[in-house]
Structure formats: structure tokens, C-alpha cells
Symmetry: C2
Subunit: 226 residues, 2 copies
Amino acid sequence: MKIAVLGTGSVGRTLAAAFARVGHEVTVGTRDVAGTLARTEPDGMGNEPYRTWAQANPAVRLAAFADAAADAELVVNATSGEASLAALRAAGPDGLAGKVVLDVANPLDFSQGFPPTLSVQGTDSLAEQLQRAFPQARIVKALNTMTASIMADPRRLADGRHTVFVSGDDDAAKKTVTGLLEQLGHRDVIELGDLSTARGAEMLLPLWLRLYAALGTSEFNIKVVR
Amino acid sequence: MKIAVLGTGSVGRTLAAAFARVGHEVTVGTRDVAGTLARTEPDGMGNEPYRTWAQANPAVRLAAFADAAADAELVVNATSGEASLAALRAAGPDGLAGKVVLDVANPLDFSQGFPPTLSVQGTDSLAEQLQRAFPQARIVKALNTMTASIMADPRRLADGRHTVFVSGDDDAAKKTVTGLLEQLGHRDVIELGDLSTARGAEMLLPLWLRLYAALGTSEFNIKVVR
């Protein structure tokens, strides 16, 4: 499958490499291709320059948001929560129309320091905001409840015996995403229901952030024991 | 230990019976003792009349909130979120001063139907509201992330291999609660940190409620795999 991963941060890179590893044709989308390739210093999160990463991942192409999305059968929103609406707008409504859009972002607001709060919660979610802004896209929320390395390679933790949640209004889109998750090694995919159930998945983040601090590692995940 | 369990609903009853089973001296607190004992019909949640339950649990006393709290070394808030402040007020600041108050309630707002939303979230929590209202109480949040039967008897699910979270500002109070949880059979107690971490535990409820609907049972719990 042709997959566009929007976002050049650690989540975008880790997912892009994983999708390529299991045989997909992956293009990473960025706002400014020349700018992304020109950087020679680590980014604000300490990630190595994109071009260094790209040399180690030659199968993954880089393109502007619109070009990446235009070619893709499935689009992944791996941008930060605050950048998501702009990134999808840049990908273009035409680039998203009818396509499965896997939203892995969290609406984190770091303006008051750590831990961040949620910029949307309660009776709305980032996933629903994106769906309202792009009614022809088939938004599916998943993977936002764990760190990038476990999203991409769940077997690195307890041989994959932990849970990933899927929310969306389109059953076929959820099925496509579930298949993709299983390809990566996810063994316990729980379909929560329609896209409003993404509120619950996003509202796990405050607990996730406190666990991250208490455990001193991001290498953990939630398992629903039943 | 002398334990007062405030609340005569299923959470209060189930915890009261469990604490009595492991050897504690338990009094259930209610707003109106005569009224509670006079009821002959199931309550709004379908629980059998209190006096029927009390006949089957003769070791558990019933008293007014203030009387129950006055005698107790540890007070459990097992009332509904919306009733919690009034119940603790009825227990009296003197009845709570210096005591460990285990808050297992969730600030659920059912006014718009199912699923309920949270009446407090983000930068505050029910646990913190109670702590501010009763600064001399030593509030500890725990157990609010699972159904009553699993709170009280965690081994009924996967032999207890799942997680309970503890939040609080008072280390000795958290230690007392952790000991009590282990007595009930909890095997994975994670101390999240100060009482503000209760925001994360309470904000798990929207996901819990969607899982309840998706799985068709409340007999599940979260395990933090690490």
C-alpha cells in the first residue's frame, strides 16, 4: 500500500521506517522539503537531522505534504497536535478525500510546561476536529496511547501482549487500520466504536504522562485485562 | 484498623464487605440511618435494599456519616462524585482531621446521558477539590479506575495481575493505603506521585466507559505493561 506519513519528528520517522519494513511504499510529508533537508543540527526534541535519518532509510521518500498525500492510499497524521490541522490543510482536501487518515496525534498543550494539558477534551477530541474539518476523509484514531517505538514495534514489549485502541466512523477504514496494526505486530486491537470514542483514547494522555514520570521510561503500554 | 466507608451504594457495600473479610472493623456511613434502613425496594442502580445486604453482612455496622468518621482511623469516600463534598462535609472536618481519606469516587456527570462526562478535568480533579475543602484530611486517590468487584477482590481477574494507581500528597497515607490494597489482593500498585496525579487517574474514566460499552462487561482492568 502507498502510505504518506505526515510529520518528520520521531513519531513520523519511526512509523515510516516500520511501514517500509513490512513492505509498504512510504513517503514522509513535510511542510518544506528543502528546509527539512537543509537542517544539520538535531531538532528541538534531540532527533538527528532528517537527512542523516534519510540516509539510513533510503526506501522512504520525502515530499511536500500535498505531494505525499496525493499519491497515497492511506495518510498518517504524525504531526504534533497543535500542527495537525495546518498539516492536513496543506495536504489538501483533494489529497484526503475518500482516504483512510490514521490520526496518531495528541492535542497536547505545552504552554504551561510539563506535564502538558489537553487543548481539547471532554465532549470533543482532536480526531473529531479533524473529521469536521475534512468531512471526506475517513479518520481513524489509533496508536496515540503509546510511545513511537512501541507503536511501530509492539513486540519489543512483552512480545506484543498489550492493547491498541481503534476509533472511527467508517468500518472499512477501521478494518484497514486494524490490518496495518496487526502487520506491525499488534496482537490486541480493541475497536472502541465511533470517532467520539477517540475522546477516551486522547484523555488517557494525562495518566500516560504521569506514568512516564513515575516509571522513568516511555517504554510501557496499557493492556486491557479481561 | 477501624474503617469508615462513606456510601451505601454498590461500591461502598462491596468495599465494606471486603475490608471486614480481611479483618478490619468496618462502619458504613450514610446521610440518614433510619431512611437507609427503612427502604424495602432496590435502589436506582438495582442494588438490593440495604437492610437485606446488612443481614448478610452482620459484621458491618451502619452509622451516620459523622458517627462513622468519628470512630475511624481511615475513611473511604465511596459516594458518587456529585455527592462527595456534601458527604465529607457531613462527616465533619473534625472527623477527618489527620485521617487518611481514601477517595475512590469519580466526578461523573450523567446529566447528558450515557456516557457521562467529567464535571472536573484538566488542571483539577475531584481528589484535589476534596483536599482543598478539607486541608487537614490526608486524601489518597486510588481504586477509581476499576469496577467495585475488582477493587475489592482483584484476584477474580487474571489472579490480580493488573494495576491500581495511588496518588496523594502524604507519603505515610499512601503507604497505609498501599498496604490496604495489598491486603485485598492487589499485586501491582503504582504510586503516581502527588495528588495532582489523580487528574490522570480520573481522566481514565472516559476510556473506561467506552471499554465497558465495547466489551459488554465491567469485569476488566488496566495493566501497565513495562
